[in-house]
Symmetry: C2
Subunit: 369 residues, 2 copies
């Protein structure tokens, strides 16, 4: 495997000779093309989490930035070796079409902006990796899928846990029958939302509260751990509307999913306490993760209780994000479809809409199959 | 504290002199009257669990047995020093009224027999300790309460966890605000029902499936951990009716309770996998028990996760059952009301009926307050 340093590649315009001159080891015969990413949105996730991950990638490199803050963009560009010509703002964003370095646009914006910036990227002829939740509505998801399809471009959703080794091993154990027939799933995900002015707490930007943020991890886990699609939902919301953080979006929401096999899933998300837990119960035992979907330090137990901690084999990438970025890169390079395409994001949004409807109407909502 | 050996006291008819002659230490000045119990039902719980506990009691002694199996009753009587004159069957049960040794009747029968044998005991002038669930319906509970009230006798339900040190410490921590404002509770309780011919699996005897058995621990815990009464329930049942064990009663049932403070409780019981877990989440941390309601080996954690295991102070008795038996004995001796009276059992049955109704009608059921 070539372990090119990302920055040297960018500086050298991908020249293996220049990279070698910088002392970076190169397998000379097969200069692998790294797929070029434009990061849209230099917020906490795009800047703080994603951009530092390119150094762990084998097939992906950072080539462009899109930000409303020109000074910040220049600062980040200097640090990560992105050329000035590849800095964009939200006005000239569509001109990414003229930048051949950019293969994939990674949309790391507030949720309400996902649809617009995905569709504009597709129209500019770029593949899209879009953060989760995919959009604020299923209708938006459908537009995004249609736009990428029409442009002949791939669309992947940033479900990093599909590349996280503990979750992958948990799924493998569930499918292998390690805990017998599956019966029950539960997951709680929560963190303490601090700043009342955060975009997460503005409904116009986020589309919703904890469910549209940390809650989607519980929903996703219910689906990937069981391998099934829910047939109905029932949800209850609990929010202190006098809390300045929760004037617009929900704090706590509990939702139950019924699956065709008979498995029940009970999930909860909240913005007022920390929790990160996944439990899958079968007739012969259980698979438990706690934390289950953290950036680091996830732990996995398989057995009757917590007596048997499992150390999973390495995931597909050096980190869950490297695995995710390189998966999309390989899809671009080989023509394969991403394992978590737009349709996966759409499925979540359809369920999320039903969850909100159930909580609003205080009744069970049947999902269209 | 006097630590009389139960058997010697029974053999000697309660005579301190006779007991002393047998080498048992006696505090001569204050010969404490031990409250006499008749155990009704020599099944797994009455014979296997309760009867051996009198040796751990300070205020309770075994004085009579009621069983449909005369040979078994004689065998048990011989082992535990119960005199022949204090052996009864279900036909001559009412003649317990003529036995002054019997203060309390402990009903350890299948659930469908609780009401009859409680009411007959009250009519015979005896106090009653009745196993949980109290009866197969709230209406039966009301009749039992009325009968005991009319007879001027105490009625207590066998909620042993109210005398279990880990649960007591968990409740204390919750009330003391150790985890801040309470938000969310959950509990799963299950075991593997084996014998399809067990009375537990016959609806006419049990009144229901896992909810009417192991599930009541989850329901109870939701109530005593929050200290609140639920205002609504929503429930979903999942049972393989082709499984010979589950022709008549439910296997898995999940139920959500909404509490007035805003706390949500998500509970599940099942007869097809082992599970014994209680979790109370507050804004500042959580209180967790696993196992939470076992006969032995319960564990308690209080904090952010499981980093801080708590060793609780001793409970009121040498064991949870001794604490329970002696509490009823002290109520009899002092005239106090039991902390878990018939009304407590009635509350559970009203909720259980609403849970079954919700599962049947697939809708949220509001509880009368």
């Amino acid at each position: 495997m070539i372990d090119l340093d990302r920055r040297s590649v960018v500086l050298a315009g991908g020249s293996a000779v220049a990279a070698a001159a910088l002392g970076v080891p190169v397998r000379a015969q097969t200069p692998v093309r790294k797929v070029g990413y434009a990061i849209v949105g230099l917020g906490g996730y795009g800047l703080g989490v994603i951009i530092p991950q390119f150094k762990n990638c084998q097939h992906s490199r950072l080539v462009a930035l899109v930000s409303g803050d020109a000074a910040k963009a220049r600062r980040v560009a200097a640090e990560y070796g992105v050329p000035d010509r590849s800095l964009y703002n939200y006005q000239n964003y569509d001109s990414i079409r003229d930048n051949p370095d950019i293969d994939v646009v990674y949309v790391c914006l507030p949720v309400a902006m996902h649809a617009e910036y995905t569709i504009r990227a597709a129209k500019a002829g770029k593949h899209v990796l879009c953060e989760k939740p995919m959009a604020v509505s299923a209708a938006e998801c459908e537009s995004m899928i249609a736009a990428c399809k029409q442009a002949g471009k791939k669309l992947m959703i940033g479900y990093r846990c599909h590349f996280e080794e503990n979750n992958l091993e948990a799924i493998r154990c569930a499918r292998a029958g390690d805990i017998g027939k599956l019966r029950y799933f539960r997951s709680e995900h929560g963190f303490v939302a601090g700043n009342p002015n955060s975009w997460r707490l503005k409904k116009a930007m986020s589309g919703g509260g904890s469910l549209m943020d940390i809650g989607i991890y519980a929903l996703q886990a219910a689906r990937y751990m069981t391998g099934e699609e829910p047939i109905s939902v029932y949800a209850t919301e609990r929010t202190d509307r006098n809390d300045p953080r929760f004037r617009e979006v929900e704090d706590m929401i509990e939702f139950e999913l019924e699956f065709p096999s008979g498995v029940l899933a009970s999930c909860m998300s909240m913005y007022s306490a920390n929790q990160n837990h996944i439990l899958l119960m079968g007739e012969k035992g259980r698979i438990e993760l706690e934390p289950g979907t953290s950036y680091a330090g996830n732990r996995l137990w398989v057995g009757k209780g917590r007596e048997n901690e499992v150390r999973p084999p390495p995931g597909p990438g050096a980190t869950q994000w490297a695995g995710q970025l390189d998966h999309m890169a390989q899809c671009v390079l080989t023509g394969r479809e991403p394992i978590v395409p737009g349709e996966e994001g759409l499925r979540d949004l359809r369920i999320i809409e039903a969850i909100y409807q159930s909580a609003r109407e205080r009744r069970r909502v049947v999902l269209r199959t």
